[in-house]
């Protein structure tokens, strides 16, 4: 009977500290980012990602010249231009390493708190479930941006250390100067960050389903692998444009002259769709869920 009144009373309560929730959201986001990037695990993940370009660069440095057309794209260019380490490393990390690390972070968002028993304390504070969900997703997105950036910057750094750096030949045969090439590396990192947003939303939803974070992490990684396998099957061609991994290797379009934005916009639209769908699912699940831990 009294419940009909609750919204009103809560409304007045909200109105009295109208300034508080907004500040609270930002401070919650800030503390989430601090916790995420203060974690030893996050640093281990980023270090592992940074090790990929280092491994590639050292291997190329120690071995003889790579014949053109063998191995992943750009590998044969590394010995002439160190900046190609960044492109090669980002290319190599797309199918497994980036989804793996993002899966760990996204799968941990809600389930991790539930597993530690801290979720109910977070919700006792007048944060609200929706805001908590948004903040958690924002944290996962921050990692999505940090991960490819780490690969790209570590690649450029180790490449510059071990190999000469000079004008970069694009796929179109045109040549750009190193500062512009650095810009392209940042663009590709942004492309990959957008590419991983959909997977993060899937991970967030899976994370609301369980209190076992490892389960959500593993499920997220499996989803990314399944999506990529389906993308390889010619029999499922009708499905391909709908798979969130469909545009993952499309960042090559950012290495053409003039820049080809088609795959960037297509990818952004697709990822936005995934974020909307799985965000709504995560909302439905998390808001109606009984928080027991």
């Amino acid at each position: 009977m009294s419940s009909s009144l609750r919204p009103e009373t809560l409304g007045t309560a909200g109105a009295t500290d109208a300034a508080a929730p907004r500040g609270l959201g930002l401070s919650l986001l800030w503390s989430e980012l601090r916790v995420l990037f203060g974690r030893r695990r996050t640093w281990a993940l980023l270090l592992a990602l940074a090790a990929i370009p280092v491994l590639i660069a050292v291997a190329v440095r120690l071995s003889s010249a790579v014949p053109a057309g063998r191995g992943p794209a750009f590998l044969d260019r590394i010995s002439q231009n160190g900046l190609f380490v960044a492109f090669t490393a980002m290319l190599v990390s797309v199918p497994l390493f980036l989804p793996l690390t993002v899966g760990v972070v996204a799968g941990d968002t809600i389930a991790g708190e539930a597993n530690l028993g801290t979720l109910r304390y977070l919700l006792v504070a007048p944060a609200g479930r929706v805001r908590l969900l948004l903040v958690k997703y924002a944290g996962a997105l921050a990692f999505c941006l940090a991960a490819p950036l780490t690969v790209g910057l570590a690649g450029a750094a180790i490449g510059a250390a071990l190999f000469p750096v000079g004008p970069v030949t694009l796929l179109s045969g045109d040549v750009i100067e190193p500062p512009q090439a650095a810009l392209r590396i940042l663009l590709i990192a942004a492309y990959l960050a957008v590419s991983l947003a959909g997977l993060s939303a899937v991970g967030l939803f899976l994370s609301t389903l369980t209190v076992v974070p490892v389960g959500a992490m593993a499920a997220t990684v499996v989803v990314s692998v399944v999506s990529q396998v389906l993308d390889q099957l010619p029999q499922l061609e009708w499905l391909h444009p709908w798979l969130f991994s469909h545009y993952w290797l499309g960042f090559g379009d950012l290495l053409r002259q003039p820049l080809l934005w088609d795959s960037f916009t297509g990818n952004a639209l697709l990822q936005a769709g995934y974020v909307a769908v799985f965000g709504a699912l995560a909302y439905g699940r998390f808001v109606t869920k009984d928080i027991l831990s």
Binding site: M1, T9, A73, L171, S172, G173, G252
Partner: protein
């Protein structure tokens, strides 16, 4: 929080509500309401996919662009197309073929200009899908970029200088045209993958259209977002595999925007090439100034280079369509053709060496070897739009005709 005051308000409200007996019944229990609200929480999860699906479906409905175009006769449309003067534009062309040939890897190690195997490249062009960006500035400046995944093949012409570049092996080829050359030399032996511009394709079809073909104008179509006339060509004979050719002619400029070739009895086109986007603005001039990138191997091609004479019978290396192939073969091997119009059969004698090259290719490619079916008298490479017969004695017969016609031609003295 301030629970005390809440309780106070609740208490007050309880008293107020008790004063309204009618509200008591429907009010129900708190658990019911919670359940109702829980149901509401899932509404976004249902509506978001529904909205996305609705948006997608709305996007697939072909946009009916305002007013219908003024009616034109086929002759008007052909004249419109023939008289178009659009030589400055940039656009994206998509080509797709479903000929029934096995797909070859689009970016194999042999895809570079210097090392390309002509026939294998031609078959690669004939299968699957290709996207190319085309930039043209007048008749003498052009750049075509064949967009592959993480690779690109370029043909750049500026005046008499023509450059070919493949990112796969970072190889460059250069050609200086004779002073009077006016056509675009897109038929480089190694960079055959440039889907032809719709212009070129359409002009060939229009030239070939004679009494053997019924020409009509179909309902208006949209191509690259522009309203276009739909020129339909249907062979009057049953002796060809081609059922229908549809050419979209831009209503505003007369520029051919797309070409679709449908096999006889099929509903979907077996071959289509057309602009998916088109801008009539002048492209950036810097695009046409090509300098070989550092570290690239540069091969100098002579205009009289043996590779350039690739139109010799039986080496269909750089022809994007079977019709092109047939036309080129006809041109070079006029004395070897039988039949006319759509039913033309091209016969290549054994000494031309084409058969041995084709056989070498078949031997080197198990997928293709599988596609070449043994028939009495030889083997047949069969596609939706054309057939190629390799006889046991080394001759080659090809045409847009059923296999029986080729066999009959091979049996004829």
């Amino acid at each position: 929080m301030d629970y005390g005051s809440n309780d106070g308000v609740d208490g007050t409200m309880n008293r107020i509500m008790n004063g309204r007996p009618r509200q008591q019944g429907p009010e129900g229990s708190g658990a019911d309401r919670a359940r109702n609200r829980a149901w509401l929480r899932w509404v976004p999860a249902v509506t978001v996919p529904a909205v996305i699906a609705a948006g997608f479906l709305a996007g697939t409905i072909p946009a009916r662009a305002g007013d219908p175009l003024p009616t034109k006769t086929p002759a008007d449309v052909i004249a419109l197309a023939a008289g178009h003067k659009t030589h400055t534009f940039s656009g994206t062309i998509e080509q797709s073929s479903e000929l029934g040939l096995p797909e070859l890897p689009a970016t194999g190690p042999t895809a570079g200009p210097a090392s390309a195997d002509g026939i294998a490249s031609a078959i690669e062009v004939l299968t699957g899908e290709h996207t190319a960006r085309v930039f043209m500035d007048g008749k003498t400046k052009a750049r075509i970029q064949v967009v592959d995944r993480l690779a690109e093949r370029n043909v750049i012409r500026s005046g008499n200088e023509v450059w070919f570049y493949s990112s796969k092996d970072n190889s460059t080829a250069h050609l200086t045209l004779a002073g009077d050359a006016s056509d675009l030399p897109l038929a480089h032996p190694g960079t055959p993958a440039a889907p032809r511009t719709p212009q070129e394709l359409a002009e060939r079809f229009l030239a070939a259209a004679d009494s053997s073909t019924a020409i009509s104008v179909g309902p208006d179509v949209q191509a690259a977002g522009r309203a276009a006339y739909n020129l339909l060509l249907e062979p009057r004979t049953n002796g060809t595999l081609v059922g229908k050719v549809a050419i979209a002619v831009d209503a505003a400029t007369g520029m051919p925007l797309s070409v679709q070739v449908t096999a006889r009895g099929a509903s979907q086109p077996a071959f289509s090439a057309g602009f998916i986007s088109l801008s009539l603005d002048q492209p950036d001039v810097a695009l046409f100034n090509f300098v070989p990138p550092p570290g690239s191997t540069v091969e100098e091609l002579q205009p009289g280079h043996p590779n350039r004479q690739s139109l010799s019978p039986g080496t269909p290396d750089s022809h994007a369509t079977p019709e092109d192939l047939a036309a080129a073969l006809e041109q070079k091997a006029g004395q070897y053709t039988t039949g006319s119009g759509w039913e033309t059969v091209v016969a290549v004698p054994a000494e031309a060496g084409a058969a041995s090259r084709l056989n070498a290719l078949l031997a080197g490619n198990p997928l293709l070897a599988q596609a070449a079916v043994a028939v009495p008298g030889g083997r047949v490479l069969s596609t939706a739009l054309f057939n190629v017969l390799l006889t046991d004695d080394g001759r080659v017969f090809a045409g847009m005709v059923p296999v029986e016609r080729l066999q009959a031609a091979s049996a004829a003295p």
